[in-house]
Symmetry: C2
Subunit: 512 residues, 2 copies
């Protein structure tokens, strides 16, 4: 069937999509979300949307189709019904409770990356993985398929180390310390990291305050060759791109069944041989109990074995933010001060030296923690970070007080004397995001007190920073119904009372 | 935040959708598939798509948003982030294995109908229902929620009867006989039916050969008042519209977890008090075993009890088509000939009289089967159908040979002597659809032989009809790899041999 083209001028994140009048769709024997093949000089399979505004005899095409076929409005194009892709058939296998085979998984991931599966179909796949679970074979094959459908780093080193946190704790700027500590000991660490999706800052957002992070693969390889390490945003590298597509579905559903393949495919793609995974544990993190965290650790280690990545895990306390700051600029500043030995943020230093130390020991060095501490205190780690900043195109002489923090601020003070009993991670994140994080780098929160500290009435608990007065006042409004830092006596036992069926406020941190 | 409007001129099946540049989305603190509130004189919540082609400072809007807010290109509109809808939170409850509450189900169905849930989220809901199942409470509440979010018939009759087939058998034109038989006995039967989605013809497609079927609620009420019955397409009535949205997701996934709420909500919406459900059973239907069919029957009866619809079920043989014809015009012709007592299609007559008889007995009449048979043989049913045709705006004098059948035809002959061992429903449907059914009313298949018949070499097995020579030759190509009618000796036991891991051809009939 021949149709005339109408270029719609919209793009769909890589997915070829066309719009058809109902009559033409019926003539083709196709319904919404079916597939058609468009043919001019080249071929493409596109997903069909029915549209009342599309004229009979016309096919509306998105940018993906236009670019592939080099079409213009009013040009003719051959259109024919196409069968459902094989990947969809394999998704159905999983829907019906069957274990997937390697070639089936490969085909599904290919369908996801090439845009031949609709949002609905991808969502059905992710949902089924969540409700029916996947075993280690499937996780392994998914990881490999996600590696194989993306780009890879080729660093030609015998040992390549890496660290990863499954995330969930606000203010976790550990990587900004760990990477230079490790790289200054001569080990290769091509660190890629994510931006915030639902959190207040990802490592890429924090690092971006100090230097450009949108490296491509060539640039990354050059930086690592010079400095032994880098701190790059993963999204510009196209490593395991399927993950970026899955995450779009997962975040609004608050599910994360692809956690393990997501982590391990990216590590495999950079060529890691030795890996430390940080698993923050406790209320307000992704792993609520030590049992859950241990179970994840066991599976990550076995998955690492199958993928030839020697993996150890570290369970860390994650019930309150790491360090005293939340928000890209505040966190970058705090990390820089610690590296310069100008600030003694004990939990942050402790965490960084434990993780760097574990990396050292995993790759054959002894007394890892002491070695990491020594490197940090010697100023070598600071020097290494500045070297990385320089090679990624930033200002290597940057001083902490040159980092711009939002000029609108507000102190939140304690209403009574007592102890800091709990800090609510989720509320801290929500307030930081309301203040403008991560988009506004200067927005965020400074914690003037942390768990166990004593506090007097009218003493400052925490400070809000924003680049914009409207956002600051919005955050103050949010604070009226929230209590991110609980102050009380050590004997207080009541959390809260439940009297009528409440509408539960749920939160979910998917950032990887 | 103020943005300028760009009208995109595309519609999205009722869902308000906007397109934003990545920069503006970040400024709003929103990612793809998040929600924003647009405000001019009225408000609307729309789902966000990120688009590289959208200019900074502009928001691209679809027809749903344009119509609601009466916006034009270059107009200003206020845009703000909106939280995820409550319905999404409730979907997450089900995702995590929790039983849903009535108000949660009501909110989800409202979200589906009002377009506040994305395709992904609806798909996640349907998938979870499939993998985790739903209990009779949830099925009941879903049915009620689907009724409450749509229109209803108000016929002011004490007894309103209905019949429904769960479908899956090609050529099942039973309703075209049952409705006039029942209506001519004085019972009220406001029959609404569906068009084909994946089958060769729905009852609405068959009836449309004889009369208009796109009635609105007023017209339907008028016809039923005059004739006691009607044969209307359900889609134009907006009864339980959530179902039409769910089915879009379900059909490409080959799942049907909402089968029961789908049936019962539409029956409740027309006000049915007594209902007979036909459950075709056997290989090639939706219910593969008698146990499965009995289980469904049990649940439908209990669900009916909760909804105040007195329900009985009839399990019928569904392993081969009903009657001799498949395709809208061929089937309408066959039904008309049987009603005129010009043709003795025994399985069709038997099925229609059993179902009509069951309706009679359920509503208090005795010897239902005999009564139905008598009405059919007396010509009263034919008279009643012609009355309905007239009142729905068709030609009540229509003769069978005036019904147009595709003029391009092809005989398929037996290659050997033997018996008809099996007829493959799925292959029959695929061939009929390739011939042009249901869109081309005149396309379809005439079965010259049915199961158990003897056949000689070169005798005609079945005849293909098409309105279009290209489609006829395409169907002939399909036939090269298929064998819809198996001829063999009565002692043949082998179905087929499996030697290497085959790519399974799956089929699925979701038509309701």
């Amino acid at each position: 069937m021949k149709l005339k083209v109408k270029v719609l001028g919209i793009d769909s994140g890589g997915k070829p999509i066309v719009f058809l009048n109902r009559y033409d769709a019926e003539e083709l024997g196709i319904t919404a979300l079916g597939r058609i093949r468009l043919k001019s000089k080249k071929n493409i399979i596109a997903i069909v949307n029915l549209s009342q505004t599309m004229k009979k005899g016309y096919v509306g095409i998105n940018e993906e189709v236009r670019k592939h076929l080099k079409l213009k409005t009013e040009m003719d194009v051959d259109v024919d019904i196409s069968t459902f892709p094989k990947s969809l058939q394999y998704i159905r296998h999983k829907l019906n409770g069957k274990k997937l085979l390697p070639k089936e998984i490969q085909e599904i991931i290919k369908g996801v990356v090439e845009g031949n599966l609709t949002e609905s179909e991808i969502s059905a796949f992710v949902t089924t993985l969540h409700t029916q679970g996947l075993d280690l074979d499937e996780i392994n094959w998914l990881s490999l398929a996600m590696v194989n459908t993306g780009k890879k780093l080729h660093l030609k080193k015998k040992i390549i180390v890496d660290k990863h946190s499954i995330g969930g704790v606000p203010g976790d700027k550990t990587s900004l310390l760990v990477v230079p500590i490790i790289a200054s000991a001569g080990l290769t660490i091509p660190k890629t990291s994510s931006r915030a999706i639902t959190s207040a800052a990802g490592t890429a957002d924090r690092a971006e305050v100090l230097m450009p992070v949108n490296l491509n693969i060539k640039e990354l390889q050059r930086v690592v060759k010079k400095c032994n390490g880098c701190i790059s945003w993963g999204g510009s590298l196209e490593l395991a791109p399927a993950d970026d597509i899955f995450v779009k579905t997962e975040y609004s559903l608050f599910i994360d069944p692809l956690l393990m393949p997501s982590i391990m495919s990216k590590k495999k793609a950079v060529g890691a041989t030795h890996l430390i995974v940080d698993i923050p544990t406790g209320i307000g993190t992704k792993m609520q109990t030590i049992e859950d965290a241990d179970h994840l650790a066991k599976n990550l280690i076995e998955l690492g074995r199958r993928l030839n990545i020697h993996t150890h895990c570290i369970l860390t306390h994650g019930e309150q933010p790491i360090g005293l700051t939340i928000g890209p600029a505040l966190e970058a500043k705090e990390a820089l001060e610690v590296l310069m030995n100008k600030s003694n943020v004990s939990d942050l230093i402790e965490k960084a030296c434990n993780i760097a130390g574990a990396v050292f020991e995993l790759s054959g060095k002894q007394n890892g923690y002491a070695l990491a501490k020594k490197i940090l205190e010697s100023g070598k780690a600071e020097k290494k970070l500045r070297e990385i900043i320089h090679n990624q195109g930033g200002d290597s002489n940057i001083r902490p007080n040159e980092i711009k923090i939002g000029k609108f601020y507000h102190y939140v003070k304690s209403k009574k004397n007592g102890y800091i009993l709990r800090i609510n991670n989720n509320e801290i994140v929500e307030i930081a995001r309301t203040l403008g994080s991560p988009k506004d780098h200067g927005a965020g929160i400074l914690l003037n007190k942390k768990q166990g500290d004593t506090v007097l009435k009218n003493e400052i608990l925490f400070t809000l920073f924003s680049e914009n007065p409207t956002k600051l006042s919005r955050a103050k409004t949010v604070l009226k119904t929230q209590n991110p830092i609980s102050v009380g006596k050590k004997i207080d036992v009541v959390i809260h009372k439940v009297k009528e069926s409440p509408l539960l406020e749920e939160t979910f941190i998917i950032d990887r």
